[in-house]
């Protein structure tokens, strides 16, 4: 993300009023969860909000305003029974006006087209967020009806909460173990689909600590409306402590835990199935192999969703075996 985008501020009073109205809408509910990119908690969402304001102002001033003023005027001035204004029933061709009605929209679309090109590239979810370096790696797997977040470098995984350190970019890879889903954390970044047998990417960053709404937006069955999570941004030291806490208090991701995870059910139902792994309504898992994510991609792609034994912890708590290099994992590592 360029600094220009991060520091962008509405330069006009009108824009400020508009954005504060939007801010009111976006609200931070009593629960203290940020719901919307109109109240952004990171640079991507902030840039998206600024982009929205630009487009709304441009279209409002040059498209809506003239029509909202002109049309009522026309209907009133040329109402049936009006005596004074001219009546020209055959006036149907006037080249200068024709040129204007085409030129106006073309000019507006040219400006918008430029904006689209610029922002689409600047805010491409596949684009790593500057400063480059080692972003926090997170792998998200969509199940019915919950997300599993794997931290491959830390060897842990969570359900129901996505903890991230502030100011460190997050590089997320997504797939689905079931139907198509779409992961959205509005206050941090836009959404991207998660699809079985495929890997998509999303980059995001939080600039201040706080709790943001995270959700699946693609309908996937009866528990769809329960498929929410909290994106929990915290200072880096707190994040390290959090990782230690998960390691200390989570349970190992073994075949039994994985089976419970991959069954259709909400986070609450998973908590009921894995009470020892649950903390404040979320699930903490440890000894998670970095090979789990590519293995799930491959298993979904080949139609053998249960063939994951080799990347799960053995029941006795033995470390997971080394995984062979799969087609999916090499694809996943491709640039």
């Amino acid at each position: 993300m360029t600094s220009r985008l991060r520091q962008a501020r509405p330069p006009y009073v009108g824009v400020a009023i508009l954005s504060s109205t939007l801010l009111l809408l976006s609200g931070c509910a009593e629960s203290g969860v940020y719901l919307s990119f109109l109240n952004p908690q990171g640079p991507i969402a902030a840039a998206q909000r600024w982009h929205l304001i630009e487009v709304v102002v441009l279209l409002g001033v040059f498209v809506a305003l003239p029509i909202f003023v002109l049309l009522p005027l026309l209907v009133w001035r040329y109402r049936y029974g009006a005596k004074s204004p001219r009546y020209t029933p055959k006036w149907q061709d006037y080249l200068p006006l024709e040129v204007m009605v085409w030129a106006g929209p073309i000019a507006i679309i040219c400006v918008l087209g430029f904006l689209v090109w610029h922002y689409t590239h600047a805010l491409d979810p596949y684009k790593p967020i500057a400063p480059h370096g080692r972003p926090l790696q997170v792998q998200a797997i969509g199940y019915d009806w919950k997300w599993l977040f794997i931290y491959p470098d830390q060897g842990i995984a969570t359900v129901g909460v996505l903890a991230i350190p502030v100011e460190q970019p997050v590089a997320m890879r997504l797939t689905s173990a079931t139907v198509m889903q779409s992961l959205l954390i509005p206050a941090l970044a836009g959404q991207i689909y998660a699809m079985g047998g495929m890997v998509t990417q999303l980059h995001l960053k939080a600039t201040k600590p706080g709790r943001s709404l995270g959700e699946n937006t693609m309908y996937n069955g009866n528990g769809f409306h329960h498929q929410k999570f909290t994106a929990l941004a915290m200072p880096p030291e707190e994040f390290k402590a959090w990782v230690r806490k998960v390691r200390a208090s989570g349970v190992a991701l073994d075949a039994r835990a994985y089976k419970a995870l991959s069954q259709r059910g909400t986070v609450a139902e998973l908590v009921a199935a894995l009470p020892r792994a649950s903390h404040e309504g979320n699930i903490y898992l440890t000894q998670v192999s970095a090979a789990l994510f590519p293995a799930v991609v491959e298993a979904t792609m080949t139609g053998t969703p249960t063939a994951l034994g080799h990347v799960l912890v053995a029941p006795a708590g033995l470390p997971a075996p080394v995984v062979r290099k799969t087609a999916a994992s090499s694809m996943e590592n491709a640039p």
């Binding site: 026309l74 049936y80 006006l97 009605v101 073309i106 495929m198 699946n216 409306h225």
Partner: protein, 703 residues
């Protein structure tokens, strides 16, 4: 699918548990009871409705008339009316579903009263019905009725095919209705994305109902598109060059071209999904080489042009309405034709904007984002041209004009939110939220539905010979307008607050106030529908005071106003010769309207054919058999269809003749009525004084 299975399970998957109330009786929990009563109640309404209609027909002894004068009629006018009847019935169902969904969401903080599965069926049927069984039949019905009259033709090119298209569409609509009574409908939304709709995740009959309803309807619509396009190319009256066609006919042509090219991808997509579900193929599965994105590409390759299939005819209606009720020629005819064609062509270049979030490169997204915005250019042109038409005119605020003005104002907002969504960087945020729901309703309700309702008011006197009640029409129009705003503007805000679409319940109280406002809007829309019904009742009651037999109640401009209301079966006693873009307006101006032709000749019309109802009926039963795996029924219906087509091939007596003497007598009667009618100025156009003859000259149009 072997012989043993057919014998062992003659009813396929059909069992007691397919009936409404079953789940409720087996497991009488509170939730099951509520949902059982709502679902079962709806099923009862369908069954009782059918029984009552059948009883009434029997009581009045109208079965024969229904069969010989309506169902088997190849007359484009009757087929058009039947299409609109289907559309209005389905509109009623889908609006009731919408109110139910809004009620659920209004009380949906933490739960609500509907089961998630029930809610999912509601949004799936609501969308499927509104697109395929409300908007499509409505616009096809209006085009069917009006277009041949506007181009000075006796009928469409393939009248029996027209009847077959209606049969297939009605069969598909019936299939959706039957899903209320037997089994359940899909929960996968109106676009039924796999792999969710694959057997692995949804093994029940729901997606099968959806697949076959869409297949029947898309085949019917493709045939309609061919029929309309050929009619417009080949059946125009002498002198009606392409650039003299009324704008509504132009939009009908563009819509037909879109139908021909856009419906096949849908047919292919649903056929592939059917192969996946029935024969274990892997087109769109997660595994074994399937790719669900192929379905999405095919679906939206249909789905986006579909948006313009729906909206172009309404643009055509607005063009006629604005010109007529401004007492002025349409401004910028050539620009409007060019803009319509531009929209038709561009509509095939934007489908990826339905899934910017698939993970493709920024270059692809930017190109499709800009392409989507390009459509804003011709659309903007149209709005300015309509405004220029009002300039220096005399605008009469009749019901169609109120719809048109409301449309322009609201559609501008819908267009703006469309351009917002066409920015991939913003779409990442609001895609799949209720912001998107608000956007497409904002273009579909003012854009499509208001246009069709304006057309309904505009052409109703032509079709039935009497005007609709203006007061109830205005009440209905205002309820639609304000109901729409109340119901959908809150959804923009809710979408910006991150509320996903298709959410049966939510757990954050911040959403509830706006959900309640949206529910009130839905109620107001319900009132609009009720007012429309009352209007029909009142108008029929007072029909004799509001007759417009002379045929021209609005001082119309195109040829459909140049005949009696209702028009004779053969439309024109002698085919008109056209010298001007606004053919009838020019004829009235030069005093050559209402002429007695020098001589009359026998008129040849297509004879009735049972092909429409027979193929529609067989299609319905076959689809039902496919849904429930009743294979013997499928085979019987397939053979029956084949036999029907072969038998039709032997039909030789397919033409009937209206003798010249009858034509002359009917025409004389009409001319007589015209001569005795009082020409009225526009001030009296909504009074009983309006007998369908317009006073000419500036005095008639302005004072």
């Amino acid at each position: 699918m072997n012989a043993a299975a057919i014998i062992e399970q003659p009813l396929g998957r059909l069992g007691m548990d397919s009936l409404p109330f079953w789940e409720m009786l087996q497991h009488p929990t509170e939730e099951n009871l509520i949902n059982g009563f709502i679902g079962g109640g709806a099923a009862c309404v369908v069954v009782i409705g059918i029984v009552v209609v059948c009883a009434l027909i029997t009581f009045f002894g109208k079965w024969r008339a229904l069969w010989s004068e309506w169902l088997t009629s190849p007359d484009h006018k009757k087929i058009g009316i039947m299409y609109v009847v289907v559309a209005l019935v389905m509109l009623a169902r889908a609006v009731i579903e919408a109110i139910l969904m809004r009620l659920q969401q209004a009380v949906g903080l933490g739960g609500g009263f509907l089961a998630p599965d029930h809610f999912a069926q509601l949004f799936s049927t609501h969308g499927t019905i509104m697109i395929f069984f409300m908007a499509m039949p409505f616009l096809i019905g209006v085009i069917n009725y009006v277009m041949p009259l506007q181009i000075g033709a006796r009928d469409v090119s393939f009248p029996v095919l027209n009847s077959i298209s209606l049969g297939l569409t009605a069969a598909a609509a019936m299939l959706v209705m039957v899903s209320l009574v037997i089994g359940q409908f899909s929960t996968g939304g109106w676009f039924g994305y796999p792999p969710y709709t694959e057997t692995a995740f949804t093994p029940d009959v729901g997606p099968d109902y959806w697949i076959w309803a869409l297949t029947l309807s898309s085949v019917g619509t493709t045939l309609t598109g061919i029929n309309f396009a050929v009619t417009i190319y080949k059946e125009r009256a002498p002198g009606m060059t392409l650039m003299r066609m009324p704008l509504f006919t132009w939009t009908a042509l563009c819509t037909s071209i879109l139908m021909i090219f856009a419906m096949p991808p849908l047919t292919v997509a649903t056929a592939q999904l059917a192969l996946d579900r029935y024969l274990g193929f892997h087109y769109f599965t997660n595994a074994l080489g399937g790719n669900m994105m192929n379905f999405m590409n095919l679906f939206w390759l249909f789905g986006h042009p579909e948006v313009y299939i729906l909206i172009l005819p309404s643009f055509g209606i607005y063009s006629e309405v604005v010109a007529t009720f401004s007492g002025k020629a349409l401004f910028g005819y050539r620009s409007l034709v060019l803009a319509t064609m531009t929209i038709a062509v561009l509509s095939f270049t934007v489908w990826v904007h339905h899934f910017f979030t698939m993970g493709q490169s920024a270059n692809i997204n930017a190109v499709f984002g800009i392409a989507s915005m390009l459509i804003g250019i011709p659309t903007g042109v149209k709005i300015y041209e309509w405004m220029a038409t009002m300039y220096r005119g005399r605008v009469r605020l009749t019901v169609p004009m109120v719809y048109a003005i409301g449309f322009i104002l609201l559609f501008v907002l819908g267009g703006i939110t469309g351009i917002i969504l066409a920015n991939p960087a913003i779409d990442y945020q609001v895609h799949n939220t209720v912001f998107l729901v608000a956007h497409f309703h904002n273009v579909a309700i003012p854009g499509v539905l208001f246009g069709l309702l304006a057309g309904y008011h505009f052409w109703f006197p032509k079709v039935f010979g009497f005007r609709l009640d203006e007061r109830w029409g205005m009440i209905s129009a205002l309820c639609w307008l304000f109901g729409f705003m109340l119901a959908f503007f809150p959804l923009y805000a809710l979408g910006l607050m991150g509320l996903p679409r298709r959410t049966v319940a939510y757990f954050n109280p911040a959403y509830q106030p706006l959900e309640i406002v949206a529910f009130l809007g839905a109620l107001l829309i319900g009132c609009a529908l009720l007012a429309l019904l009352i209007q029909g009742w009142v108008s029929i009651k007072h029909r004799n005071e509001n007759r417009v037999f002379a045929g021209d109640p609005w001082d119309g401009r195109s040829l459909e106003w140049a005949v009696s209301a209702p028009p004779p079966e053969y439309n024109f006693p002698v085919l008109p010769v056209v010298n001007d873009a606004d053919a009838f307006a020019a004829a009235k101006e030069f005093g050559v309207a209402y002429q007695q032709p020098d001589e009359f000749v026998d008129i040849k019309l297509p004879r009735n054919s049972a092909m429409g109802p027979v193929l529609g009926g067989l299609g319905f039963v076959m689809a039902f058999g496919l849904v429930w795996h009743i294979w013997w029924l499928v085979i019987v219906c397939a053979l029956g269809t084949l036999a029907a087509i072969i038998v039709r091939g032997f039909a030789r007596d397919t033409v009937q003749t209206v003798p010249a003497s009858v034509v002359k007598e009917e025409h004389g009667r009409w001319l007589d009525a015209v001569q005795h009618a009082a020409a009225i100025s526009r001030a009296a156009e909504c009074d009983p004084a309006n007998e369908g003859l317009a006073e000419q000259g500036a005095a008639g149009a302005t004072s």
